[in-house]
Symmetry: C2
Subunit: 514 residues, 2 copies
């Protein structure tokens, strides 16, 4: 058994059985091992930003890591932006980064670079294997590291000689770290505050926005009258008809401030206190109302679900009936105009139960409230603000949940960052429908230009926001990568295309011209 | 005048008048300043890998830096791989990276990241501006830093408040650093060695492969009988008919070793001693023959051209007649089979004088000797091995040299990395013809798999090299971004398409199916 086989078998033994990759020469032994070792599904992506975004999506939906396979420093570098997003999503990811053989490092060959330097800003754990004899144990440790806290980025660097040299076995899996429990005193303190009669909101993030956590939060809200909030960019939230109603924090700072106005106690459950996404001249970044008390029920690395359930018990809220969303979204007949609102009403109308919405369009975010009354689904948002995330996240979500429909609501500007995703969607027959909000521009920036006080109506600035010279033809781009595509220019056209897309299986793209 | 205007005016005063960018909210004041300040040409790219690759191409051809405009850490991260290549090309590049306002940094907003950490592995100079009052001087210093040595990567981080706050003027340009002169003793020593009767080769890189440097090297070779060599991946070389003949080091280590066999003295002119690109089990990385003496005429930061001219004088070679290439490539009638050889013969036949070949396909590299006898041209190669480089480099070369035809010889796998380049090529009407070597796979890797001793004929490994399920349709992809495209499946078809492309102006893509 060589080091590559030892690594691969150890990953599989630790429960990692999906590998998103774009290998190069230094990873060839790992690639060869894919044939001699059973149990790892390799998925080729044609750019590393797709690799790491897919691993993020997989981690969010599978609740365990996939591994990536990346070629040296530049291969890792191409994946950094989506690792930044994955880290902000607390997604577990294990990066396997090939390196030059240790004997070759001193020669400063063209691809030599500081791989640890590239990895550091996005990794919670980094290790470079020193020998084929340790790569198995290193892999087991990387998997464990990726599952610490709420989920982490673990980067294991594998010099080529550690892959091709003789190894001596498969490492046993290490225990999956369990989240820390919140102390009873904390729960007592929050219970007392929540019953003190002040206007209270719970801001939830992480597992607290799923299943048992949501159910407990719903009972607490019913018992105490507290509001239930989520971040604008929660990694994953279970929502839709029958699910506990959660208010989503608006994106723009002044709207967020209005939304939070009047709250006297903000209880954080795996979340940070809200701050504006960007700074604006003479506007505060800190959004919690002045004088509002902040209480932390659970930190991100702690078990927020258990804390919420303990709080239910302490409040005697076991029988409280949570407020849930009704199923009303199906009642929509499109008029003629195709716009962000009519797109979302159509999405909500046809969304199948169990769908996964991946959202990366400011125009989708603005109307996301319309899907709260659609069939129950998951919503995955752009956690780190690095665009080019959700097309690959859709791949990973589809691999993790092959029986669920993925609906990717995607801006055209951000879609261009990782459009190579379409090819992998076609190859792996991912059941994803990509809706491109084709407004032919970085509209969010035209808006932000004025908001930061940088007013200009000049042509040079405008040319930096407009994508209409030439116009992108998304039907042609999708076809070029083997994905069926249609263009919709009216609301009824979009309704028909989206309804059709929900009934078929496999990747499809709808260019919604708005 | 705000900081953004001060920055922009100072860049322009220092001779930087082209900006490749993909801005975000934190760069909006810089964008607005593009309208209030005359003299900067902004060029929008739809992905940051295109931005930095274009800056590399511009730097190689203009001999001075363009600036980039990048959005926070993730925007820089997306551009790192091509900055790695640019650094290996010694291209001068000034990165302007927006950052959160200094007051906002503490809040750990979603896009907060360690920008200096991202920049460090690829930057020779990094600075984060502390005040709007210093950004002008910081910009002048960044430009100067980019021009030190043979050319460097300078990264200037610009917190949003330094852009929007009041500034107080425009910084004067700093002196352009001149390369260090090689001492007379070094030249005397090399002259003595070169006349000692041993088999000698000069390995040239940088400016020594252009104009006066080449002319001097040609005289030295004629006088002494030395061979003239270039690296496999020289950033830029002037070659073709009438130019001094330079032998290119082969890519594969065993071929390179054969190529260098028998050399007893290797003189380095701005080059490093040759090493293999990758390490292979039980094969040496160091390629200089055992017992061969290495002499350094000039280091990369020194003036190799002046050193070669001084050596000409010392050798009394002023009247020696250099060996130059004949113009014979036009004599080619294609047979029926389209392959890497017939593609290159067609390229050589029709290549117009003054063309710039940008090369990123192993099948193009293997036949690059066929263009030595084409019309005089420049050849730009993939210096750092990070694929996805030459489509954007073609943009930058086209901006720097609008009157020269760009011929981009591009593998399909590497083209997918930065295919967004086509859109900017269309928007800016770059006079570039992209020839896609559509072999539907990472063929170099299928080859390397066996070379590293990782033999397998299994399906999983093969699936990591093949791009044929589904096949990429490059005509559709180009059309989707506004670039005219045709597919050629036979040698006569390719000959006709390429001949047509040489006669028209503006971007075009030819998918050569091989």
């Amino acid at each position: 058994m060589n080091g590559a086989e030892s690594l691969l078998r150890s990953l599989i033994a630790s429960g990692v059985d999906v590998c998103f990759g774009n290998p190069g020469t230094s990873e060839m032994h790992f690639v060869a091992a894919l044939d001699s070792v059973e149990g790892m599904r390799p998925i080729l992506c044609l750019f590393e930003g797709v690799v790491t975004g897919a691993a993020d999506g997989y981690g969010r939906m599978a609740g365990k890591p996939a591994c990536t396979l990346l070629h040296l420093g530049p291969g890792l570098a191409n994946g950094l932006a989506n690792l930044h997003n994955a880290r902000r999503a607390s997604s577990p990811v294990v990066n396997i980064v090939g390196d030059h053989a240790s004997s070759h490092a001193r020669y400063e060959a063209p691809l030599t670079s500081d791989i640890k330097g590239f990895a550091r800003p996005v990794s919670d754990w980094i290790h470079s294997s020193g020998s084929a004899l340790t790569v198995g144990a290193d892999a087991a440790r990387a998997v464990q590291a990726s599952r610490e806290g709420a989920g982490q980025i673990a980067t294991l660097i594998l010099p080529a000689d550690t892959a091709w040299s003789q190894a001596d076995g498969v490492a046993s899996p290490l225990p999956v770290p369990r989240p820390a429990l919140v102390g009873a005193d904390t729960i007592e303190r929050v219970a007392a505050l929540a019953q003190s009669g002040v206007r209270t909101a719970f801001l939830l993030r992480g597992k607290a926005l799923q299943g048992r956590g949501l159910a407990a939060a719903g009972k607490i809200a019913a018992k105490t009258g507290a509001r239930l909030l989520s971040d604008t960019f929660a990694p994953r939230i279970e929502r839709g008809a029958g699910r506990v109603t959660i208010e989503r924090l608006p994106y723009f700072a002044e709207q967020a401030a209005d939304f939070l106005a009047g709250i006297e106690l903000l209880v954080l459950v795996g979340a940070q206190a809200p701050v504006s996404f960007f700074a604006y001249p003479d506007k505060p970044s800190w959004l919690t109302p002045e004088g509002c008390r902040i209480a932390i029920l659970s930190h991100p690395h702690e078990d927020g679900t258990a804390a919420l359930e303990a709080l239910v018990d302490m409040l005697g809220a076991q029988r409280a009936v949570a407020r849930t969303n009704a199923l009303t979204a199906a009642d929509f007949s499109p008029g003629s105009t195709l716009d962000a609102a009519s797109i979302m009403r159509t999405v909500a109308k046809h969304l199948p139960e169990g769908a996964i919405i991946t959202e990366e369009a400011s125009m989708a975010m603005a109307y996301s409230g319309l899907t709260e009354t659609a069939a129950p689904h998951d919503l995955l948002a752009l956690t780190g603000g690095a665009i080019g995330c959700m097309m690959p996240v859709s791949i990973g979500a589809g691999i993790a949940c092959p029986d669920r429909k993925i609906v990717n609501l995607q801006g055209d500007g951000s879609a261009m960052y990782t459009l190579q995703s379409l090819w992998t969607q076609a190859r792996e027959n991912i059941d994803v429908v990509t809706v491109i909000y084709a407004n032919r521009g970085y509209r969010i920036l035209a808006n932000e230009l004025a908001r930061v006080g940088a007013r200009t109506d000049g042509a040079q600035a405008a040319s930096m926001f407009d994508l209409d010279n030439p116009s992108l033809d998304w039907v042609a781009l999708a076809k070029g990568m083997g994905v069926e595509a249609v263009r919709a220019e009216s609301a009824p056209d979009f309704d028909a295309a989206f309804a059709h897309a929900m009934k078929r299986r496999g990747p499809m793209l709808i260019e919604a011209v708005i």
